[in-house]
Amino acid sequence: MIDLEVVTLEDNKEYYILREIANYLYLVNTQDDKDITIRKNVNKDGKNYVQKLDSEEELQKALELFANN
């Protein structure tokens, strides 16, 4: 067992943050380990928010970061 940070997303489901590289978050649904997704961390007014990615290019960049780190 290991303790991981969880976030609640737009589907009201909780996701574990498996890894955080640069500002990208690699997440898996706490109830379904086949449900994986990637988000980015955005800092606004001193608080951290989780946001979807802007484009497929950004998704590929996030995956590339994952593969090389």
Binding site: M1, V6, V7, L9, Y26, N48, K52, L53, S55
Partner: protein, 349 residues
């Protein structure tokens, strides 16, 4: 034994089955038995990666009070799941190979790479589509965002690792790494085709030059130890030595040697199928330090291990020039001290 916390600098030796910490005498006896038995040992050596462990009344446990036996059971379950995934992949590859083998030259590297590319595309296409759908915002709609509250929850290792493996596989599909292609290459029974694929990868490596980013191209399989730390199997000695020069990743180099030794055994008619191969490597998965791989790497003594690992020059028996170049003098001194502190007699040393 007093209760103690394992820190980054702690090295302990314990029995896998019970988690009980071994006395120096027991350790020496087990080690000598391992040498006599041709390299098989049930000693587990834990070092810096095992920061989550504690020793309580002489028994090694993790912070949620699981025994080492519990951890190993989790590791075995995880390995079974990964074996099942490998079997699925093999099945997919076989069907792809069958469809095309009558039309093409099986010794043609381009053909092999083609098969591998097709196979990994098929196996990861659904995962990629899912990640893309769930990760990318719909165009022209306002971006929802959710505050991170810092809340934490416990997760079991198998779930933890499966998610990472999925993402890594999808990353591979984009051509970032050739790792999956290398796994597939080994799944093909033909030695000629396997050698062709490895040659192709090594040529790529020469073009890239030696650096840590490009080493990813030589990772033939990713796995995880029982603590959730990544372990990679790599196919290139130079890359293994590069990695060996990084203290926290030294065990990767030892893994390479175990793999290399296994390759020799395969050439001699042993380990002639992928199941045996996975089983052989899988037996190493819960180990976390090069010394743990000493026996399985086919070395008969520490001296031989040091030479194979590149720490010591074979002729002069002095710390190798290459090691000084890559890791610096202090790293060699640290490693020598590390051996001295153990105060163990092994293989005539």
């Amino acid at each position: 034994m007093e209760n103690m916390e394992i820190t980054q600098d702690t090295i302990i030796y314990y029995d896998k089955a019970t988690g009980r910490v071994l006395s120096p005498e027991e350790l020496r006896e087990k080690w000598n038995m391992a040498v006599l038995n041709g390299g098989h040992t049930d000693i587990t050596i834990v070092s810096s990666p095992a920061k989550n462990l504690i020793i309580e009344d002489g028994i090694v446990k993790d912070r949620v009070n699981q025994t080492v036996g519990d951890l190993l059971a989790q590791s075995a379950k995880q390995k079974a799941e990964m074996d099942a995934q490998t079997a699925d992949f093999q099945s997919l590859l076989n069907s792809s190979e069958k469809a095309e083998s009558s039309l093409t030259d099986i010794d043609n590297p381009d053909y092999i790479i083609n098969i591998l590319e097709n196979a990994k595309l098929k196996s990861s296409m659904d995962d990629y589509a899912h990640i893309a759908d769930s990760s990318i915002a719909v165009k022209d709609e306002p971006l929802p965002s959710y505050e991170r509250m810092g809340q934490r929850k416990s997760i079991k290792y198998p779930s933890f690792t499966k998610g990472l493996v999925k993402i890594a596989t999808v990353a591979t599909i984009l051509g970032v790494s050739l790792s999956l292609a290398n796994v597939a290459a080994q799944n093909i029974s033909s030695t000629n085709r396997y050698n062709s694929a490895v040659k192709y990868i090594e040529e790529q490596y020469e073009e890239d030059g030696r650096n840590f980013v490009n080493r990813n191209k030589h990772i033939i399989e990713g796995s995880f130890d029982s603590y959730g730390h990544p372990i990679y199997f790599i196919d290139n000695e130079a890359v293994a030595k590069d990695i060996l020069a990084v203290p926290d990743e030294g065990y990767l180099g030892a893994l390479y040697m175990a793999y290399e030794q296994m390759g020799n055994d395969r050439a001699n008619g042993e380990y002639d199928n992928w199941d045996d191969t996975i089983g052989f490597i899988g037996s190493l998965v819960d180990e976390t330090h090069p010394k743990a791989y000493l026996t399985t790497a086919g070395c008969k003594s520490f001296d031989e291990f040091l030479i194979k690992a590149g720490y010591v020059d074979e002729k002069s028996k002095e710390p190798s020039v290459e090691m000084f170049k890559t890791a610096g003098k202090q790293a060699v001194i640290d490693f020598a001290n590390f051996l001295q502190e153990d105060n163990i007699t092994v293989g005539g040393r």
